[in-house]
């Protein structure tokens, strides 16, 4: 008797390859890595740019993390929770994964919010509370814009120091948006070469930044950041 052929779709309803879904549910590290890479952009956008929510009948706005460290902390915590066995089993594979993941990310943020409310309870009759509570004070501001412009200037100055070949690589990668593989094809190089050159250029940019900051009087253009952080640290 001829064996019945197996029927297995290349993709599951949620859009993942079927093998990825199976591996995800089993906790296979390779599958988890694939899921991370497929979805990290969506969660990053939420954590970077914020969202609105209601608490105790009031409207609030989380404006997003500007600090790279805080954003990465929240991102890490989101995926760490999402990859726990119970969370993996709770995902049915039929519905899209992004909303599920974004819900976890929101909860990560809101846990911080609730902790802050406990630390700073409102006095009875206090009518001064704003309608929107800002969890992270990084709303666009003149200072924020100035810092961004300053950094763009530093990067432009760095780019001006590079030879044409390096500028071409960076243009392909970050202006035209090519992947490393496509950039490698375009330049007739191997992907590993592109990866290595890119890492060296990133390090060169950091070296340029360190020299710039060391050359600035007391690092005055950015020292406000560390000082503010130190003050915040002292107040913890």
């Amino acid at each position: 008797m001829q064996e019945e052929p197996r029927l297995e779709s290349p993709r599951s309803p949620c859009g993942w390859p079927t093998a990825t879904l199976r591996g995800f549910r089993a906790g296979d590290p390779a599958a988890l890595r694939e899921v991370y890479r497929l979805h990290v952009g969506d969660v990053t956008g939420l954590l970077r740019h914020g969202f609105s929510f209601e608490s105790a009948g009031r409207a609030h706005r989380f404006v997003g993390y500007d600090s790279a460290f805080e954003l990465q902390d929240a991102l890490h915590e989101t995926f760490r929770r999402a990859f726990e066995p119970a969370a993996r089993q709770a995902f049915d594979g039929i519905r899209p994964y992004t909303p599920y993941l974004r819900m976890i990310a929101r909860n990560v943020v809101l846990r911080t919010f609730r902790a802050q409310r406990e630390m700073f309870p409102l006095a009875d009759g206090d009518t001064a509370e704003p309608d929107a509570i800002v969890l992270v004070d990084t709303e666009p501001s003149a200072e924020h814009d100035a810092l961004a412009r300053e950094m763009q200037g530093i990067v432009r100055a760095f780019l001006d120091t590079l030879p044409a070949a390096d500028r071409e690589l960076l243009t392909l990668r970050f202006v035209e948006g090519l992947s490393q593989r496509d950039a490698a094809d375009s330049l007739g190089l191997g992907r590993q070469q592109i990866r290595g050159r890119e890492a060296k250029l990133r390090q060169a940019l950091l070296d340029h930044l360190h020299r710039h900051d060391a050359g600035t009087t007391l690092g005055a253009t950015w020292i406000a950041g560390p000082i503010a952080a130190l003050i915040a640290e002292a107040l913890r």
């Binding site: 779709s9 460290f69 090519l178």
Partner: protein, 312 residues
């Protein structure tokens, strides 16, 4: 800041950090506000370099942290992947919620170049549009929506199960958008999935995402045990029930062998009423089959009650 710590921060920012360094660096960042500020400033530089609100190296760094947690296999990933992998491959992210509480078996015609997967016939392999319309048939084996998704080997759904459907249309498709999905069961009976006599067929306007069809079909109601062939198409006009009947009459006698390379729309012939205006707006088709297993339990309801439930 100590030079060693600064070098560690730089390695994190350039994507060259070693797995063994990750935990120590995270601890240092938590304890040292100046280190955090320096790290944030470096990340700003990477963002400005990449012209993005979050740099790729930041996402890679989180990946390293998940490796350090033991959730990802250390060293298996690219140390500095291009941004295209996450953004360009996001085409399918956001597939809509499947209304049916179905689970499990996903069946789809093989995409061009796929090796085939058993019962699915690799039809029209020479057609450059082969695979542009992809169909998934989902099986909730209990029919209660209370089981998690699990792959079912053998390409079958229990006779007590429930079917649900999803489709995906390739982004290159610029033609017809009115969907029709129907089946022919082992008795040769037509199974109207979309449209039905009561439910109009949807327009599928989205591209490169799986779109759930708001339709659940209880197998105990109408489906006989045995093979079911499922046909889907995008047409220029909404298909009528009469058109579906006419198409099923042709297809009921046609071959479905694996080596049949003729797409089902072509088997109908160009003059078939279902294909009206397909010469004006490009039509797409997809086909698959599965088996309905004999029922494990007998439904106590009357056929009329069961039929009513089946139309939900």
């Amino acid at each position: 800041m100590r030079a060693g710590r600064r070098r560690g921060l730089d390695r994190a920012l350039t994507g060259t950090i070693e797995p063994g360094e990750v935990r120590g660096l995270i601890a240092a960042l938590r304890e040292d506000a100046a280190a955090r500020a320096s790290y944030d400033r470096g990340a700003r530089a990477m963002r400005a370099l990449e012209r993005r609100s979050v740099a790729q190296t930041e996402l890679d760094w989180v990946e390293r942290r998940l490796e350090a947690d033991g959730l990802l296999d250390a060293g298996a990933g690219d140390r500095a992947p291009g941004r295209a992998w996450s953004w360009a491959r996001g085409w399918w992210i956001g597939a809509s919620v499947l209304a049916a509480a179905a689970a499990v078996l996903a069946l789809r015609p093989p995409a061009p170049g796929d090796g085939g997967d058993g019962l699915l016939a690799p039809r029209g392999a020479a057609d450059p549009r082969a695979g542009w319309l992809a169909l998934s048939v989902l099986c909730d084996p209990t029919g209660r929506g209370d089981v998690p998704l699990a792959e079912v080997a053998g390409g079958s759904c229990p006779g007590d199960g429930t079917l649900a459907f999803a489709v995906r249309v390739d982004a290159r498709h610029r033609g017809a958008e009115h969907l029709v999905v129907f089946g022919i069961d082992a008795r040769g009976d037509v199974q109207y999935y979309l449209p039905t006599p009561d439910v109009a067929a949807p327009v599928v306007a989205r591209r490169d995402v799986w779109t759930s069809l708001d339709r659940a079909v209880r197998l105990p109601v109408n489906h006989a045990a045995g093979r079911v062939r499922v046909f889907a198409a995008l047409l220029p006009h909404p298909a009528s029930i009469d058109d579906v009947d006419a198409a099923a009459a042709v297809l009921a006698t046609s071959s479905t062998r694996r080596d049949d390379e003729t797409p089902w729309l072509d088997r109908l012939g160009p003059a078939h009423p279902l294909l009206a205006d397909c010469g004006v707006a490009e039509c797409l088709g997809a086909e698959l089959e599965f088996r309905v297993e004999p029922r494990a339990s007998r439904d106590a309801r009357s056929p009329a009650e069961a039929a009513e439930a089946g139309q939900q």
